[in-house]
């Protein structure tokens, strides 16, 4: 998988900004973007949430949700055994039903990447080919409180170990202090660290940690900033702070992605992560994507769910559609 090359991204940013990406220029640009009305945004998200997805549409939606999941384990207690178990689940989500698709990727800490790559073996690759990617969180995840050298080393190590995707965190402290230039430079540097020796590059997901940015205006500015700096994906949350992905926040980020596509023709991905646990909720996200940016975004290269418990709920719903009755938690496997 290749991301956008850094040079193109920087040139594009300069063209859009009309100057060097320093604090002053970025501030002028980001604060010139139209504001967000919180009540209206939440009302629109709630409206999208009332769509009723039934029968054949539901069937399609459930399979697609599985194909868009980054099956995640991000615990201090992660071990090679846990990662192998996760990978097995990613490859065969439902042993009772061979038609179940695979998830898009497994998402682990950087030091677990070699075990994930090893466990995947020949199944490691591009989700477009029915294979499973490895995503690694990096840059002193989840707080991001470390020097740039450490963040870059963290990234480069994961890429060298075989990570296809890097989920980095932005420096929320710098963002809230108005040091947009610093945030931009760090994202751009991490993007550079995603390059492999053969010239290809790991895909970069930029985690905004919306629960710490708090206001929708901040989320919108951080989204623009991350895209300008070269992120391939913008991601809501680490899952490590209380307020994670919400439908309004995801809708807002999708609107930014839509506007960026209109302005530049480039397609950026969106990944809501944390707190999406039920099929019903996940379907609301699919609806929101399809009605905001278009259904061509419902592919692993442009939309992901960062989740762990979501997968089993989707499998239960899938079994229900096939058999017309509900089973129970013991009819799906734990990883």
């Amino acid at each position: 998988m290749t991301g956008t090359s850094l040079i193109t991204a920087r040139e594009r940013a300069l063209a859009v900004l009309g100057g060097e990406p320093d604090d002053a220029t970025l501030r002028r640009y980001l604060h010139g973007i139209a504001g967000v009305d919180a009540v209206g945004l939440e009302q629109r998200a709630a409206g999208l949430g009332t769509r009723s997805i039934k029968t054949t549409s539901k069937q399609w939606a459930l399979d697609r949700i599985i194909q868009l999941i980054d099956l995640t384990t991000l615990e201090g207690a992660d071990t090679p055994g846990k990662v192998r178990s996760l990978v097995a689940k990613a490859l065969v989500p439902d042993p009772a039903d061979g038609t179940t698709p695979r998830v898009a990727a497994v998402c682990v800490y950087g030091d677990m990447v070699p075990y994930a790559v090893d466990a995947l073996g020949a199944a490691h690759g591009d989700p477009d080919d029915g294979l499973v990617s490895v995503a690694a969180v990096a840059t002193a995840f989840p707080s991001g409180r470390a020097s740039l050298e450490i963040k870059l080393a963290d990234t480069a190590e994961a890429v060298a170990a075989g990570a296809d995707e890097i989920d980095m965190v932005i420096d929320r402290g710098a963002f809230l202090a108005g040091r947009y230039g610093l945030v931009f430079d760090q994202i751009a540097a991490v993007k550079e660290a995603c390059r492999r020796a053969d010239g290809t590059s790991a895909s970069l997901k930029v985690i905004l940690e919306t629960g710490e940015l708090v206001t929708y205006d901040n989320v919108r500015r951080a989204s623009w900033l991350s895209i300008l700096a070269g992120g391939d994906f913008i991601k809501t949350s680490t899952g490590k702070v209380p307020s994670a992905a919400t439908l309004p926040v995801t809708l807002l980020m999708l609107e930014v992605v839509r506007d960026w596509h209109l302005a530049t023709g480039q397609r950026i991905g969106v990944k809501p992560a944390g707190g999406i646990r039920t099929s019903k909720d996940a379907i609301k996200y699919l609806v929101t994507v399809a009605e905001t940016v278009g259904e061509e975004w419902l592919v692993p290269h442009l939309f992901r769910f960062g989740a762990s418990s979501l997968l089993n709920d989707v499998l239960l719903q899938r079994q229900k559609l096939a058999t017309s009755h509900y089973s129970g938690p013991d009819y799906v496997t734990i990883d």
């Binding site: 139209a34 009540v39 209206g40 029968t55 699919l286």
Partner: protein, 529 residues
């Protein structure tokens, strides 16, 4: 497959328990009307739903007489607290039967089920709950101590929000102690008739609410009936004007809620994505069949193209079709007659040189439909910028400065509502202050709450509905009030107690005592389940 072609998700009509024929609801019972019955159809399919009685003048007289009897014998003597109990009970029954009411409303009116389910019916319950709370607090309505009911209220309501308009009319009237004769619109009588069943279920004393169906002549007979003390009308300015003439020279009080041509003003610092949603909600909610619809978009010239482009892409995602499908955004136009009017005015717009754009949607074969439409290049002198279209048609005009926006917004014979979109709070307040409109929404549109008064300036009518102000339309101060109500009661040959035939000032303390002594009995009845 395309995910966006959502599989059909129709709301089941099994919840309905419709009769084939409906009579008039007079004095607590359904009786046959003496006029020629008519059919009510589903505007989405043109299929017949039921046959409905037609009230002639004699039926109108019966209904008014029943309301008068109920006013004198029961309702005006009941304590506010007990009237409140009935209203609370009605509100709860509306909630219990919410799904049934929503399905019936969408079937008969053509509006999408998501609107009848999420907007109309919840607001109906909210209106009854709100005014139920007022029933025993009328001393605080702003009219001094012991305000008095007016008597019999004649209420004529439109077809755009059939049940909600019924609630707007009946809830404050009953809370204030009046009795009611209500006529729903000819094309949408169904939910009013189901509501009559709810009144029976609630054990509301006979005659307190009478519901008579029929066309314009029935409505005219009702408002001009001499036994009526109060007229409340929602509908077109033309009919409102006719009613005002009809009742001129009588002592009937009137509230008229008429047409509108609201300006929705979008400044260049508006939260743009939410403004687009607000424009869509403002004019395409309920197919634009909304008197307060934001049918004139006034957009600052420097963002005109961007707003129109975003609006067009947003409109392309709207789903037009079966009103009972839970994913439908745009339902059917209520009647062939209304569809013709929308078409006629749209053609006028094109002839006047405006540019028409309609969302690309598939129009079903049967029924009455009109695709969401935008006119750009509209001038203030265009007919589509001045006349109420009452359909899913938006006229886009531009302005350069706040002063120009205000001048253009106010340059209309109407004055019901307006919208302002800006991130700058001080501008919102300054502009709102100068708009001559009864309701002004800031960074939102078409939001309703029973606590908020609603009504118009100029040709949009007079009087206010909702909130404390809405009560004032059904009450008179103790010192001057009731002069029409009680002597008139005697003249109608009803049995009247001595206290009721004496003058108001003398009667008041006595009437109070009478009410007080009856409280115990009424409470027992009120709490019966």
């Amino acid at each position: 497959m395309s995910f966006l072609e959502y599989a059909p998700a129709p709301e089941s009509t099994a919840v309905l328990n419709l009769r084939d024929q409906y009579g008039l609801f007079i004095d607590g019972e359904f009786v046959d009307g003496r006029g020629t019955p008519f059919q009510t159809i589903s505007p989405a399919t043109e299929a017949r739903i039921a046959t409905v009685s037609n009230a002639n003048e004699a039926d109108v007289a019966d209904a008014v007489a029943a309301a008068r009897r109920a006013y004198e014998r029961t309702w005006s003597r009941m304590s506010g607290r007990d009237r409140g109990k009935y209203l609370f009970r009605i509100a709860r029954l509306v909630q219990e039967r919410a799904r049934e009411l929503a399905v019936a409303e969408s079937l008969d009116n053509g509006k999408p089920i998501k609107e009848s389910r999420d907007v109309d019916v919840p607001l109906v319950a909210a209106w009854f709950f709100y005014y139920a709370g007022w029933a025993d607090k009328l001393d605080h309505a702003g009219l001094g101590a012991n305000p008095r009911a007016l008597g019999v209220a004649a209420q004529v309501i439109p077809w755009n929000f059939p049940l909600l308009m019924l609630a707007w009319k009946i809830a404050p009237a009953l809370a204030a102690g009046n009795t009611v004769v209500l006529k729903p619109a000819e094309t949408t009588p169904l939910t009013a008739l189901i509501f009559a069943e709810i009144l029976q279920q609630a054990d509301l004393p006979a005659g307190v609410v009478n519901i008579i169906t029929g066309a314009g002549d029935t409505g005219a007979a009702l408002v001009s009936h001499e036994g009526v003390d109060k007229v409340a009308f929602t509908g077109s300015t033309g009919v409102g004007r006719a009613i005002a003439k009809q009742i001129a020279g009588t002592d009937k009080k009137a509230t008229l809620e008429l047409g509108g041509k609201a300006a929705n003003i979008v400044f260049d610092d508006a939260p743009i994505d939410q403004a687009i949603e607000g424009i869509v909600n403002g004019i395409f909610f309920n197919q634009g069949h909304v008197c307060c619809a934001g049918s004139r978009l006034l957009v600052q010239e420097n963002i005109h193209d961007e707003v129109v482009d975003r609006l067009k892409s947003r409109l392309s995602t709207l789903r037009l079709g079966d009103p009972l499908d839970k994913n439908t955004d745009i339902g059917a136009i209520n009647s062939r007659e209304q569809l013709e009017r929308i078409r006629e005015l749209s053609d006028v717009g094109v002839a006047e040189g405006a540019e028409r754009w309609s969302a690309p949607c598939e129009i079903p074969e049967n029924g009455f439909w009109y695709a969401p439409t935008i006119f750009t290049g509209v001038q203030t002198s265009s007919r589509i910028a001045r006349e109420e279209i009452f359909g899913p048609v938006l006229s886009v005009l531009t302005f350069r400065t706040p002063a120009e926006a205000i001048a253009k917004a106010n340059n209309t014979p109407y004055g019901l509502s307006a919208g302002i979109w800006s991130d700058k709070g001080s501008r919102i307040l300054a502009v709102a202050d100068q708009l001559r409109a009864g309701v002004i929404w800031a960074n939102t549109f078409n939001r309703f709450d029973p606590a908020s008064p609603f009504g118009g300036y100029k040709e949009s009518g007079y009087g206010r509905e909702g909130g404390r102000h809405g009560l004032a339309a059904y009450l008179a101060p103790a010192s001057i009030g009731g002069q029409g109500a009680l002597p008139r009661a005697a003249s109608h040959g009803a049995v009247a107690s001595p206290s009721e035939t004496s003058t108001d000032a003398a009667a008041e303390p006595k009437a109070r005592r009478t009410r007080a002594t009856r409280t115990t009995k009424a409470s027992t009845k009120g709490s019966k389940r």
